[in-house]
């Protein structure tokens, strides 16, 4: 087909569409001038018809492209739904997987990622142990057998505290961020982990019957852990205040004078020192958690400890399941 002459741009887009619609049967039209007296008129017709044909072709191609794009979107959406379902299934099994929307940039690099992997392995083992414990409790196993399993679970808790103390040295902010936990668990985050006093509150009703002595013991334990938590929280607030003050003091004079630069560097050095003390707070918070669990274990009988550990695990499992639902929720 010959190129349309640029002189004869006689139609607007609307007109073209209308004309195209009338001719829109996909058939090409053969143009043949009938006689010489109509030649000039038929030349014009020819050009118009040629233009119309080209517009039709362009519109057809555009429709094909759009169709291909939509088909691609549809199949991507299907794939995405499948992936989300797989992810949800994996999460419900208690395996921790961080979603792309959740991932923080790990400045600690390998440390944080390594910890996350170790933590997910720790969770898997925990799930296995708890299942074993649940089976034993439900089948009315003897105290001796229960004790072995319960001791195993307690030892396993020691393991996570050991892992946490390692990562606290390398990347305390990863622990503090709670990004290694699921979203719903993060609601309850306190100094990089759970609040012992809250955990005990959960258990008090589930552990009946308790002897008078046990009741007093658990009550005291709850109070002690609460007091220690408050003390550590206040220390953290003091640290925040101190850090803010350190960074805010200093002259607002012209930059570049050696006095100001020395001031600035001095401030930064002091601030660095303060940041370094965060590790100590996380360590003491974990120490508190570990001590509280062990003390609870000592106050309770083996069977009561077993039920307590199951209840604690159920609590966190539900939070993790809630997190999975949350992450998979339909969004506008």
């Amino acid at each position: 087909m010959a190129d349309a002459s640029p002189r004869t741009d006689i139609s607007t887009d609307a007109e073209t569409d209308e004309m195209n619609q009338r001719f829109d049967s996909g058939k090409s039209i053969v143009v043949a001038p009938s006689d010489s007296s109509d030649r000039s008129k038929s030349n014009l017709d020819q050009k118009i018809l040629r233009r119309l044909a080209q517009n039709r072709e362009a519109a057809r191609k555009s429709r094909l492209r759009k169709k291909a794009y939509v088909q691609q979107l549809e199949s991507s959406r299907l794939k995405l739904t499948q992936l989300e379902q797989e992810l949800q299934r994996a999460r419900q099994q208690g395996i921790f997987i961080s979603s792309t929307g959740d991932q923080s940039h790990s400045i600690g690099g390998n440390g944080a990622m390594t910890f996350d992997v170790e933590y997910s392995r720790w969770l898997e083992e925990k799930n296995r142990q708890i299942n074993e414990l649940r089976t034993a409790v439900n089948s009315h196993a003897g105290d001796a057998e229960l004790r072995i399993i319960v001791d195993g679970v307690m030892a396993h808790y020691d393991e996570i505290f050991r892992l946490k103390s390692n990562i606290a040295k390398a990347d305390v902010f990863h622990l503090l961020s709670g990004m290694w936990k699921t979203p719903a668990e993060r609601c309850f985050l306190w100094l990089g982990g759970f609040r012992s006093s809250e955990l005990l509150k959960l258990l008090v009703n589930r552990l009946e019957p308790l002897t008078e002595q046990q009741l007093v013991g658990i009550g005291n334990l709850q109070q002690s852990s609460q007091q220690a938590e408050d003390a550590l929280s206040q220390g953290m607030e003091a640290l925040q205040q101190s850090l803010a003050e350190t960074l805010s003091t200093g002259s607002l004079g012209s930059s570049g004078s050696s006095g100001n630069v020395a001031n600035y560097m001095g401030q930064m050095a002091m601030a660095m020192g303060k940041l370094g003390t965060l590790e100590g707070f996380i360590c003491q918070a974990d120490n508190l958690r570990q001590q509280t669990l062990q003390r609870m274990h000592r106050i309770l009988t083996t069977r009561q400890s077993a039920r307590a550990l199951l209840a604690i695990h159920d609590h966190f499992s539900r939070l993790r399941a809630l997190s999975s639902l949350w992450l998979a929720r339909p969004r506008e």
Binding site: S224, A228, A238, L239, S242, G280, R295
Partner: protein, 102 residues
């Protein structure tokens, strides 16, 4: 060490701290919460501060502050204090040393 011992025996509850130490602030808060009024000695404000800090390390206090003494006896640093508090021993020690009454 003598100075540490001397100061530690002057009151039922004694805590060696540094003014900038926030963990010391936590331990002090805990003692106040229990109703104790410990004597506080800030090593960075004491002319013998450095020697005292060394003496505390020799006693096994790590980090050197906060260093807690009850009834003149060395109890430990923050980790020890928290552990003792959780199992109820801290309160009993304070009662025995007459730092608190209940």
């Amino acid at each position: 060490m003598d100075r540490v011992r001397e100061l530690a025996s002057k009151k039922a509850a004694v805590i060696f701290t540094k003014s900038s130490c926030c963990m010391c602030y936590s331990i002090k808060t805990l003692f106040y919460e229990l109703g104790a009024s410990p004597a506080i000695h800030e090593l960075d404000k004491d002319s013998y501060g450095r020697e005292m800090e060394r003496a505390l390390r020799v006693l096994g206090c790590d980090p050197s502050v906060p260093a807690v003494f009850i009834g003149g006896r060395f109890v430990g640093s923050s980790k020890d204090v928290i552990s003792l508090h959780v199992d109820g021993s801290l309160k009993q020690m304070l009662i025995d040393a007459k730092a608190i009454w209940f």
